[in-house]
Symmetry: C3
Subunit: 139 residues, 3 copies
C-alpha cells in the first residue's frame, strides 16, 4: 500500500462550475496505483466542489440560477458585507455544497459514473486561483 | 493494511430515502477488516447519499416534503426540462446533499451513531437501479 | 502504512458553530503520521460538520441567520414535532451540510487553507455532548 499527495490549481473567472475531471484522472493514472481511494479537498471557504452531470451544459446553468435565486446577493440579512455583495452568499453556497470528495479508484481510474464530472464551484465574481489538494492511497 | 472494493445496486421506485445500512454493514464485516475507513460513493447525479435518523419515519417524510417545497418541480427558472419536470430538481437536490460518505470502521463495523442510517436518496419519479461503490481500507 | 482511530466529544450549548480545529490538529500531529488522510465523522443526525472561515465571526453569524430563515422552526409542513420545534429543522440542516469530512495530511497537519476552520454545527437549542470519530491513515 502506498500513497500520493499533490496540490493543483484551478483558475476561475467568475461564478461558475469549472470541470477538472481530466486533471484528476491524469494525475490518478500517472501514479500507477490501480485500486484505491482518491480524496479531493478544496482549500477555500468561498469556493467548493461538486460532482454533477457533464453532458448537457443547461444542467449547470440551471443549478447556478437556482442557487443565485435561493441565496441572493445584497440580502439585507447579512452583516458580513465588507468583502462585497458576493462574499457572504459565497460562504453560504460553499456550506451547502462540498469541501471534500472521496472517490474509489479501480483499474487506475476514479469510478465516476457515465455522466459524472468533477467541478470546482466558484462562488466569487472576481478571478481566483483556487488550490485543490489530491490524495490517493492504494496499490 | 489491505483494501476491498465492490459495487452494489439499490433499486428505487420513486422519490424516497432507501435505507441500505444492512447491505453496507454485512459487506464490511464480511471482509474481515476490523479497523479502517469505509467510503460509500454513488455513481449518479440525480440520486445522492444521506445519513439520517432511522427511528421515526416521519423524519424522512418531513425531509422529503421540505426539499420538494424548496426545489419545486415545474419551476419556470429551468431550461433543462427535456428529461421531465423532476430531472432538474433532482440535480439540485443531489448537489445539496452528498455524493460520497466516509465512515470509520471499528470492531468490523461502521461507527454509525445509534440513530444513524445510510440512505440512497432517489430524486427521480421513475424506477431506477442505482450503482453504489463501496471501498474499505484497513486491517 | 498505519492507522489511528479515536472518538472525541464536543460540548454544545445551543445552535451555533463550535470550532474544534485545534483538537483535530493536536491529535493528528500526536500520532506521528506525517502524510496521510484524516476523516472526521459526526455520529448524530441533528448536528453536522462544516469547514468555514474562521477569521470574521460575522460569517458564522450570517450563515446561521440564513439557515434559520431558510429552515424556520414551527414550520406547519412538519409532522415530526414531538421532540420540539427545533428538531425537524435540525435534521434538515444536517442533511444540507456534512456528516463526514476528508482532509489530506502533510507534514503532520491537515492541509487546511489559511482561513479554514473545522466546526461542529449544532442545530439543537438544548446542550448536547456530540461524539465525533477521527480516523487517520498514512505514514
Amino acid at each position: 500500500m502506498r500513497q500520493h499527495l499533490t496540490s493543483i490549481t484551478v483558475r476561475t473567472v467568475g461564478q461558475n462550475l469549472y470541470e477538472f475531471t481530466d486533471q484528476i484522472t491524469r494525475w490518478t493514472s500517472g501514479t500507477g496505483i490501480r485500486r484505491g481511494l482518491l480524496t479531493v479537498f478544496v482549500r477555500h471557504t468561498s469556493a467548493s466542489l461538486l460532482i454533477q452531470e457533464n453532458a448537457d451544459p443547461d444542467v449547470r446553468r440551471d443549478l447556478l440560477a437556482f442557487l443565485r435565486r435561493l441565496i441572493p446577493e445584497g440580502d439585507p440579512l447579512y452583516i458580513h458585507t465588507l468583502e462585497g455583495p458576493d462574499d457572504m452568499p459565497a460562504h453560504v453556497k460553499a456550506a451547502l455544497t462540498s469541501t471534500s470528495l472521496s472517490i474509489p479508484v479501480e483499474d487506475g481510474l476514479p469510478v465516476l459514473g457515465t455522466w459524472q464530472g468533477v467541478y470546482l464551484f466558484e462562488h466569487r465574481q472576481s478571478p481566483h486561483t483556487r488550490k485543490v489538494a489530491l490524495h490517493l492511497i492504494g496499490e
